[in-house]
Amino acid sequence: MATSPSQFQSRVVDNRSLRGGYVVLTMQGPTDPAPLADTVPGQFVMLRGDWGRDLVNPRAFSVLEASADGRFSVMLKAYGRGTTALCEASEGAPITVTGPLGRGTFDTPSADGPTQLLVAGGVGLPPLHLQARRAVEAGLADRVELLYGGRDENDLVLLSDFEQWGVTMHLATEDGSVGEAGFVTVPLARRLELAASRKESVHVLSCGPTPMLKAVRTLALSREVPTSLCLEEEMACGFGVCLGCAVPVYGERSYEYCCTDGPVFDAQRVRWS
C-alpha cells in the first residue's frame, strides 16, 4: 500500500522550538502530487541539507505530519552533526528529501478492536503522535492512549495536542516532576494490570530509545500482550540497498531491514536479549 518513494527538494517553512531542545521542523515540498500525502504512521523520510562532503549520508526522521498541500514536518532534537544542522535550519533552507520510506505497519485502530497503548519516549513520539492523530480523525480517540516517559518535564512535548484530541495520557518522568516517578514502564505495568483484570484487549505500540524499547518489550511480552516496536537503526540509504540497517529477527532470515521491512516490527520476532 505504501506509495513508492521519490527524492525531491523542499524548503524549511517553519522551525518551531519546543521545550527541552526539541524542534518541529516543517518543510514545503512539491504539490500535486504531494509525495508524502499518503504517509502512514511509522513511515519516515531521509533528510539532507547543504552539508558539503563532511556529512555523507542523509538522516532518517519519522513523519510527524504530512498534508496534501505538500507540507510535512518532523520532530527532532540535536544529537550529532546532522540533527544539529537541521535544528538550526532557518526558513528557506533547502532540504533534500527521500520518502515516504518504510512500510510502517502499526494496525489502524478500529471501534471494536483492542485499545492501542502508544508508549513513547524522546524522539520516538512522532510516529505515535501521527497514529493518535489518525485515530482522532477517524473518531476513535478513545481507542488510543498515550503512555509517555522522559527525564523531566522538559522531555515531554506536544502534550497539548493529545489534550485537545481528548486522548488519555499516562505520563512518567525520571525526576518525578510530571506524572509518575520513574520510567514509562511504571504506568505501562499498571495499565496492563488493569487491562488484565478487566479482560480488556490491548495492543502496545512503542517508539523511543532502544533501552526503553527493550524494557517495554520484556514487560509486554511477559504479559503476552501483542506489541509492535518502531525501531531506529543506523541508516545510509533508507530504501533497502546498503543493508546497513539490519534488525536481528527470528524467522527464516536472521536479519530483516529496518528501512524496508520496518521500521515497525513485531516485538516477539525481534532477536534481542
Binding site: 518513494p5 521519490s6 527524492q7 549520508n57 533534500t96 543506523e234 545510509a236 540497498v241 536479519y255
Partner: protein, 334 residues
C-alpha cells in the same frame, strides 16, 4: 592562480562524445554503479530509468546464500563511511532465477560481483554463474578483498602469487570475461594488478574499501560489530586516484574500472585522466539514488567547458608538472 585558465576552445555539451570502452567492452558513457551500493538494481527503479546507466555491478554473490554480519554494520566518518555488511547475498542460484532476468531486460552492462569462502568456492561460483552467459551477465567482477571473510581470505587480496593462482583458476572455469576487483589494503597494488592480468583477467576494478575503524567513546566499544569495516566515500578519493595512476603507469594496456569517492563530474574526470577507462559510483548512491546520472551530465558539461571532445582523448592523459629552471646561488646573467 585564482582564476582557472579559460578553455582554449569550448564545445557545446551536445558535441561531447562520452562513449568509452573497458577493453573489448564498449560503453555509451563511463558511469556505472558500484557493487554493494546498488543492490540488484530494482530498488532504484522508482528514482531513475536504469537503462540510462552504462552498467551496474551487483551486490557480491556467493555460491550459497549468506546472512550478513551483526549490527551495527555502518557508521559515518569524516567525508566517508565504514561498512561491515558481511557480504550478505541471495546466493548464485536465487540470483540467476530471481534477479538476473530483471537486469537482463535493462540492456546495460551487467557486472556480477562475486566471491567465495575459499578457492574452490570461488570456482564453484564461476561455474554457477556461467549459466548467466548470454542471459544478461556481461562481466564477472571478482572480489578478492573480503576483509569480512574468515578463512585466510585476506591473502587473496594481498599476496600476488595467491591472487594469480585464484584468478587463473576462475578464468579457466569461466565462459564470461573476468575483471578482478583489487584490495587497496595490499602493500603493492601494481604487483597485484600485474598478477591478475597475467592470470587472464580482462581488467581490474580499483578501489575496494580500505579497512578502517571507529570508536564509540561512550560505550567503549567499536562502532561496528565486527570492529573493522571498509572505508568508502570522498575521504578515500586521493588514495584511489594514486592507485589507479600507479597501475595505469605500470600496465598501460590493462583496462581499469575506477571508483572511490566519486561524487561529481570533476571527480569523474580526475579518475579518467588518472587512467580509468570507466567508472563506478558507490557511496554517493545512498544520499542521491540518481548520482551516477547527474555525475554523467556534470561530466558532459565540464568536458564541454574544457574543450574535451571525447572521453577516449583524456584517459590517463595527465602530464608531469614542468620542471622549474635550475637553481643557482646567483641570479643568471648577473
Amino acid at each position: 592562480m585564482t582564476a582557472a585558465p579559460r578553455p582554449t576552445s569550448s564545445l557545446t555539451p551536445e558535441q561531447v562524445d562520452l562513449s568509452c570502452s573497458m577493453g573489448d567492452l564498449a560503453l555509451p558513457h563511463p558511469m556505472m554503479t558500484a557493487s554493494g551500493c546498488f543492490a540488484y538494481g530494482q530498488k532504484f527503479a522508482p528514482f531513475m530509468d536504469l537503462r540510462e546507466l552504462a552498467g551496474l555491478s551487483t551486490k557480491g554473490i556467493s555460491p550459497k546464500p549468506r546472512f550478513g554480519n551483526p549490527l551495527p554494520r555502518i557508521c559515518e566518518t569524516a567525508a566517508g563511511m565504514l561498512n561491515s555488511i558481511g557480504l550478505e547475498n541471495v546466493g548464485a542460484e536465487a540470483f540467476l532465477a530471481e534477479k538476473l532476468p530483471f537486469l537482463a531486460d535493462l540492456g546495460i552492462s551487467v557486472w556480477v560481483n562475486f566471491f567465495g569462502e575459499d578457492k574452490d568456492d570461488y570456482v564453484r561460483c564461476v561455474e554457477m554463474l556461467n549459466a548467466g552467459k548470454g542471459k544478461g551477465i556481461g562481466v564477472l567482477e571478482m572480489n578478492i578483498s573480503c576483509p569480512n571473510i574468515k578463512k585466510g581470505g585476506i591473502e587473496f587480496g594481498t599476496v600476488p602469487e595467491v591472487a594469480n593462482d585464484l584468478t587463473r583458476r576462475c578464468v579457466e572455469a569461466s565462459d564470461i570475461p573476468i575483471v578482478v576487483k583489487l584490495s587497496p589494503n595490499a602493500g603493492d597494488v601494481p604487483a597485484m594488478a600485474q598478477a591478475v592480468a597475467d592470470a587472464g583477467a580482462k581488467g581490474v576494478s580499483l578501489i575496494n574499501t580500505i579497512t578502517g575503524m571507529a570508536v564509540d567513546v561512550r560505550t567503549r566499544r567499536p562502532r561496528l560489530a565486527t570492529t573493522y569495516g571498509g572505508l568508502s566515500g570522498a575521504a578515500i578519493k586521493p588514495i584511489a586516484l594514486r592507485m589507479i595512476h600507479q597501475v595505469h603507469r605500470a600496465a598501460p594496456d590493462l583496462p581499469i574500472c575506477g571508483m572511490g569517492g566519486i561524487a561529481s563530474g570533476e571527480d569523474a574526470l580526475e579518475f579518467l585522466m588518472a587512467g580509468a577507462s570507466c567508472l563506478q559510483v558507490g557511496t554517493s548512491n545512498f544520499a542521491k539514488p540518481i548520482a551516477a546520472l547527474t555525475i554523467r551530465e556534470e561530466l558532459r558539461r565540464l568536458m564541454a567547458e574544457l574543450g574535451i571532445a571525447r572521453v577516449s582523448d583524456i584517459i590517463g592523459c595527465i602530464e608531469p608538472i614542468p620542471a622549474e629552471p635550475a637553481w643557482s646561488p646567483t641570479i643568471p646573467g648577473t
